[in-house]
Each structure stands twice: as C-alpha cells, then as structure tokens.
Symmetry: C2
Subunit: 196 residues, 2 copies
DNA sequence: GGGGCGAGTAGACACTGTCTACGAGCGCCT
DNA sequence: AGGCGCTCGTAGACAGTGTCTACTCGCCCC
C-alpha cells in the first residue's frame, strides 16, 4: 500500500487520473493508460486482470478524493462555528464543487457499466460520508420520519444537479449555467429555509 | 418520415431500440446494430455518417417515448380529476417508471459522450415536457420565486433518484430497493406535503 | 435501350482489449 | 560462487471495433 509497493500499479492509476482529467472517460483506453505510464500495453495485466479493474482503481482514487474534499469542507465549516444546517450546506457545495472540478472523474465514478464487479465495493466507500449526512439531517429534523430516507432524497437531488449540469440541461432550462440558485432551492426544500 | 421513407433508417433505429432494451448500451455497436437489421456493416453509413449519429437517433426515439409516457400519465391524472399536485405526482412517477422500465435507453439518453453534437437538439425535445412541469409548479406555489428554478431543482431530484437507483446506491443506503418512499420524500420536500 | 445514380456489399486500415509465449533481471539457497 | 526460480515487463497474435473507399447491382428517366 505504500508508494514503493508495486510502483507500476500506482503509476498506472496516476496516469489514469491525469488522463481522465484532461481527456474525459474516453481517454481511458487500456493501451493509452499504459503508454502514458511508459510501459507496454500488456504490462497493466500483471496488476489489473482486466481493463475494468484498472478503471475501478482509478474510480476508487476519485472516491477517495471526493471523501477527502467533503471531509475537509465539513471540518472547515465546523471550525467556523457552523451548525448542522451550515455543515450540510458546506457538504453539498463540496459535492457539487467536486463534480464541477472533475467532470470526467465524476462520470467515471458513476458509470456502472465500466465498474461492474467492483461497483459494490466502490459504493461502500461512500457509506461513511453518507452517515455524517444522515447524522446532520437527523440533528436538523429530529423525529420526522426516517432520516436515512430524507438524506437519500437530498443526496439524489445533489447528484441530479451535478449530472444535469454536466449534461447541459440546466442552462437550457433556467437560462443560466449557475447551479447556485438551484442548489439553494434544493437545500431549502429538503432542509427548510436557511437560517440567516 | 413515414414507414416507407428510407426503410433501412427506421429499421436500424428499431434494431437499436431492441438491442438497448435487451443488452444495454454496450450492445449498441455499429456492426451489431447492422447485423441485427440484417445488413452489412457499411450500410448504416448511408443514413448515419457516424456511429454517434445513429445512437442519437436511437436516443431520440427514447425521448419521444418518454414524452409520450409522461403525457399519457398526465392525461390520465387529469381525467381522474387530479389537481396540480396530483398531476405532478403522476408525472414524476412516470419519469421514474420510464427509467426503471428502460434502464439501457435511459442511460443512453443521458450519455453526453455518446451523443455529442446532437446533444443540444435532444435536450430541446424535453423542453415542452419541462414547461408543463413549470406551469404546474407555478400553479401550486404562486408567487414564491422563479418557478423554473424550483422545477429544475425538482427535476434534478427525480433524475438523481433514477440514476442512483440503477447504480444500486439506494438499496445500500435505505436498505430497500424501493424508491417510493424516496420519491414521496422528494415530492413532499419540493411541493409540500401531499393533500390527502 | 443505355447512362447515371442511389443503395448496399466487401475489404482494407488503424485501433482496441485480451491472451500467450518469451526473456531479462534479481534474490535465494546450497 | 553459481545455478535455479520467480517476478515483472515485452512483443506478437487474435478477434473485434468504427471509419473509409472501391465496387457492383438494379432501377428510373431521358
């Protein structure tokens, strides 16, 4: 698991991360990743039996970075004295911010056809993140139904906003590329109007 | 545009629709569609200069069917005396129902990487549908901000639910495959509790 | 009746992911 | 010290893909 342990494995993932950031998902050909890492096209097979497993490893990196980004945003919110609602705001913004800053990676992370087989494991990595969401929602809305359901509905809203923005529908509909008003509307709808 | 006009064009799209229903997006190879339509692999090129344009035509079929399904559900709701909230319920359920019944097609419809170039045109086909949404939301919440923003936020919620369900996250989170409680939560959040 | 042309065929090309045979380089053990 | 074995990466074959180009067949119109 260290940097030294199986150098090429880490280099391949790093090459994939770089490629998906610059060229999107379609730049993640097996041979192209191998070229980018400076090895022959057969080399990845030693560490990743199939192309999909390499993609899954790249996606795993993305989930890690997403988790880190959100944890960081949450810690920052807590540090500046935010309450539950403020923390949820910060987490939601971090989610959308990650999707906007890493559209290719975000797409890869949720392309179940590319990750089949490893999908279940990747899904599990989002659980801790989700649990903090649930805790905050429960704190904000005590005793009003299952907080997991409310949280899942909210998460789906964030996710939909992220997807539809990269798909380009939002600008068509609202006339603006800005998700901010939509995000506010979604948060207000699910969590109640923000305290001001 | 009739059945007779360029027979093969329609047959190719029909073959694609069938293939995507049974084998998902990855079954939509150009050569495989041609085989399924009983022609050689070079034939599609006469009607679709590139593979992506054929996929776009298949997706266009999907958008048409989605629009029809939602319009039908809405008409049914109106026929049974539903108010604005009831119609929105029916429309939302139709959207999720379509996504659940045609997961491959739904995925294709929102795979911008496969539809690049034709994406803008396809997006436009959803506008009338969206406008009825906006009208109903405006009727339900008169004078509370831009109804287009509220509607876009709601649509994103539906879309996110559809995507996350096919991705398999919802079962992990809520312990159940059923979207119904999540849908109710989303609708209640955005539209207020349902009249009963 | 013959020329042009639209429609589909067939093959070439570069490229992909997978599989297999091979070889270079290193550590280990006697 | 020397040979063995094993890990790691190379190189080529293979079937399959999307695109492009040459071609052929059949039909319509003059």
């Amino acid at each position: 698991m260290t940097d030294q342990d199986s150098d090429l494995r880490a280099r391949l993932v790093a090459a994939g991360v770089e490629l998906v950031a610059t060229g999107g998902v379609q730049a993640l050909g097996l041979r192209e990743i191998a070229r980018h890492a400076g090895v022959s096209h057969g080399a990845p097979r030693r560490y990743f039996p199939t192309h999909r497993e390499l993609l899954a490893a790249i996606a795993r990196n993305g989930f890690g970075r997403l988790t880190d980004a959100m944890a960081g945003a949450d810690a920052l919110a807590v540090g500046s004295g935010a309450d539950a609602r403020g923390r949820l705001d910060a987490l939601a913004r971090a989610y959308l911010g990650f999707a906007a800053a890493n559209p290719g990676m975000f797409e890869l992370m949720f392309r179940h056809d590319l990750l089949e087989g490893s999908g279940a494991e990747l899904r599990r990595t989002t659980v801790p993140l989700f649990l903090t969401f649930v805790g905050l929602v429960a704190e904000l809305h005590p005793g009003s139904g299952d907080p997991a359901v409310a949280t899942a509905a909210l998460w789906a809203n964030l996710h939909g906003l992220a997807q539809l923005r990269t798909w380009g529908s939002l600008r068509l509909i609202t006339g603006s590329e800005d998700v901010e008003p939509l995000l506010r509307a979604a948060l207000d709808a699910h969590l109640g109007p923000a305290a001001r």
